[in-house]
Amino acid sequence: MSVLLLAALALPGGIATTLLVRRGSLAFGVGLATAVATLVAAISINAADVVPLAGSLIGGSDGLRGLAVAWAASTLLFGVIDLLLDDGPTVLGPALVGLAFGAIGLGVPDPGIGIALMTAGGLLTAVVPLVGRIEVREAAPRLGLRTLRPVLAAGLIGLLVVTWGASPVGPLGATGPLDQLDPGLERAMGLALLGMAIAVTIRLGAIPLHIWAARYVEAMPASAVPPMLGWGAAAFVIVALGWVDVTIAPLGAPLGTERSVIALLAATSIVLGGVAAILHDDLDHILAYAIVQDAGVALLAFAASGSTVTPAGRDWIVAAVAVKSGLAAWALVTRATFGVAHRAELRGWMRRAPILGLAFTLVIVGAVGLPTFAGFEARSTLIGLALPGPVAVVVLIAAFAPLIFLGRLIIDGLGAMSDHVRSAPGVQLAFGWATTGGWEGDRSLWRAVPVTLWANRLPLAAGAAVLVAAVGLSVAIGGMG
């Protein structure tokens, strides 16, 4: 019931927020109230709470509770950041709808239902935020078409693969001892695994199918990235891993060639994603290619076999998405604070905005990780199981590229301030009548509170970014629970 309650709150609230988008304040009010209620509902998800729904079962789990809480908290905090930065409520509504679809999709055991709902949520979170975005007005139709296609393609490939799995000749219909697996069926299973891996590659934006994701990240505000390329994609991966777990894994087929192809794709994404993030100097591209690199590690979960692979894959994708949500929040507020997004122009940012520095420190700790962190251990497990020894070492080193492409931002931030940073307001708090100003004729509390909040919107947004980063770090430490 708790999962249903979450969806019952988030779906109508998200739709209402989207429909009210022309009335910004009201939309924010409805959306943020919905996000708060959704967060409470997510916290209340109970592992033993299973209810029948339309001929199926929907229930919670500890993992779903952890994921839903992080997802709902991220949605709420990005809504607050968008409000404080006056960025409009165009992302909040679709994000809530995506959360509703994601919760139901992860709460039902049928992967076909999960993939259909994740695709529906992905389409809405990808395209609907384009409405009213001034900064992408001219490019919006093309961007929309470019984004809709991969999300749709990934979903349909996934659906067709799941359909095959459930058909009379799929592995679920196979009979006989496992050691007498029909060679034709094994080939079909290999193709199905490849198909699902391709669907995941497209949906996550892993190399070589990454261009659309990079374009989306560079064109849209950073608050639109976590719902679409983060949480929604993570839920898609978790459903796909669940399908592999019940369809492919029990038959124990080696599928060496297919797994090698997937491992090659994943290793390419990890290495080249890290190199691309290092080569680029602006925040949008760094965020985009950090996501591409994370996608490569997630893809390794489809290249390896064993009982620890699926839990490691789940832990990794959720940790990576939570941490990159923190990076997106930091990038969003940093750009709003200083008005620039290139490293050279951001020199000294950390000295000028220490709250943002705290957020970024949490992000880099989560992204690089430490032994015993769930994300760290999951990454090591996946690379170790999916790749042969020497290659695994190289890829593992490449997977620590965030040390370079994020670490140099700290070095930049501690250096001498650039002109942009020096002239920016920073994130200092403003108190008192004089500093907040603007209401000489009315000094009532009702007037003072909103004016004070507005005068401090940048530090408050930076504080929200710290919270997003803290959520990310906690998920990176604990995994899916």
Binding site: R22, G24, L53, A54, G55, S56, L84, L85, D86, D87, G88, P89, T90, G105, G112, I113, A116, L117, T119, A120, G121, L123, A126, V127, V128, L130, V131, I134, E135, V136, A139, A140, P141, G144, L145, L148, R149, L152, A153, L156, L159, L160, T163, W164, A166, S167, P168, V169, R215, E218, H280, D284, H285, R335, A336, F338, G339, A341, L458, A461
Partner: protein, 238 residues
């Protein structure tokens, strides 16, 4: 062979061909309405009345969303849609129909193999051939034909209407194909299918809307917090 299911499957396929091949926006929409309205009745056995009604309402909502977006578009754009060649298939409806027919033949044979786990072989009699056109076979055939004709406009269409129509036909094809080869879906899966279908229609309607949005139609208050120059948001490098 169930004649009613076969007729519905043919209607769905014909609607799909019309939707993706017509160069007139309203005719394409008519084809889409035919295809999506008939599709809920293709399952064998039919789903429960409540589920069937929900699928019909979902199909109607999807068609209505596209119709509304098309109507709300500026008059110039509607005129363009009704006359410009790029809105429809460059191959023309005969070629699209032949592709759908080929998909039908492949799907019927494929479906027979799925049912038997053995090729029927060249010695199959005329009666066996007729038996191949069972409810599952024609459902699979309608699904595969929809996928085949919807694939290009959905994934390579150059304008929003064609992409939206192709995407809906493609999604519907996948759902029908799933029903054909894996049996009738449960109620919750059908609800999920309707959600996917309506979400695709919403995305298509949004694309049609932003393609025709006048410069003054922006609705959000973006870019006013802090010194953020919009010009820095778009770059060409990947």
């Amino acid at each position: 062979m169930n004649p009613l299911v076969a007729v519905v499957a043919v209607v769905v396929t014909a609607g799909a061909v019309l939707a993706v091949s017509s160069r007139n926006g309203r005719t394409a929409l008519l084809g889409l309405v035919i295809a999506v309205a008939a599709a809920p009745f293709i399952d064998h056995p039919l789903p429960q009345p409540a589920t069937l009604a929900m699928r019909v309402v979902g199909a109607a909502l999807a068609a209505y969303l596209l119709r509304s977006a098309l109507t709300a578009a500026s008059p110039t754009s509607v005129d363009q849609r009704e006359s410009v060649v790029r809105g429809g298939s460059r191959l023309g409806w005969p070629a699209e129909a032949l592709m759908a027919l080929a998909a039908w033949l492949v799907a019927v044979v494929l479906s027979a193999h799925l049912a038997n786990l053995e090729p029927t072989g060249p010695t199959a009699s005329a009666a066996d051939l007729l038996a191949m056109f069972g409810p599952a076979s024609v459902t699979t055939a309608a699904g595969l034909a929809s996928i085949v004709v919807g694939l290009v406009p959905a994934l390579a269409g150059q304008d929003a209407l064609r992409t939206a129509a192709g995407s809906l036909i493609l999604v519907q094809g996948a759902l029908i194909f799933r029903s054909g080869i894996a049996g009738a879906p449960g109620d919750l899966e059908q609800i999920a299918g309707v959600a996917l279908f309506v979400a695709t229609a919403v995305a298509g309607a949004v694309l049609i809307g932003i393609e025709d949005r006048p410069e003054s139609a922006s609705v959000s208050k973006t870019g006013t917090a802090g010194p953020r120059p919009p010009a820095t948001r778009r770059r060409g490098g990947a």
